[in-house]
Symmetry: C2
Subunit: 136 residues, 2 copies
């Protein structure tokens, strides 16, 4: 998927894999959590040590940070949710949508029809962007 260096720090972390995204999603939702908490929040799927191993690898890749002060280490996403989401969206955009944001929006809305409220929110989002564009 991408180059994999790994020294615990330095260069920007790689895009998370699918299983890693699932873990990040939990961390985004719950905030700093133990492996146990993350594992429980994930379905019944796989064993505890699988989740642990995954999170340890994520630590090496720099996708999460952990606080070892307690008996059960606390993990949290090392990048802001929005930042990671931006990268994921950008990656898919580039690879599967010819870089056309319009197509991606169309795809997203087709995949999951939004409520009127959501549509309104998206509209004001567009206003924001329009404004920002104007300023530059």
């Amino acid at each position: 998927m991408a180059s994999r260096s790994h020294s615990k720090e330095s260069d920007s972390p790689p895009l998370p894999t699918d299983a890693e995204i699932a873990i990040l999603a939990v961390l985004w939702r719950l905030g700093a959590s133990t492996v146990r908490e993350v594992h429980d929040a994930l379905g019944k799927d796989s064993g505890y040590t699988t989740t642990l191993k995954l999170m340890q690898l994520m630590l090496e890749k720099g996708l999460v940070a952990r606080n070892e002060r307690y008996r059960s280490h606390l993990y949290e996403a090392s990048a802001a949710k929005e930042e990671t989401q931006r990268q994921l969206a950008g990656d898919l955009l580039k690879r599967a949508f010819e870089g056309s944001a319009k197509s991606l929006v169309l795809g997203a809305l087709a995949a999951q029809p939004a409520s009127g409220k959501d549509l309104a929110e998206i509209r004001s989002l567009l206003d924001e962007f329009e404004k920002r564009r104007g300023k530059k």
Copy 2:
């Protein structure tokens, strides 16, 4: 990523993997093409047989169809571009954006600032959806 059955037909094809998406993107762009054409259109990356093998696997998975009438077989995406894009967007939406189309739109726009024209097009897209919603 998902269950992988594969018997050349019957159930709906799985989501394409990353390398497969790259190939689909080429097919979407060029229409029915030979392996050679697809391979050339792809970067310098890997060898010819790699692309061939990938496309053969995609055939088994039902992601592409091929016409063997000619010496060099012609491959094309078996589902409409829009359909596959919808699935990809929906998958990412569900896994990384809490199902919030708004967040995905935000991510996409942040990842790649859209032109004023694009924004306008997205707006009219929203109008479409609003209308459709009203009718139901």
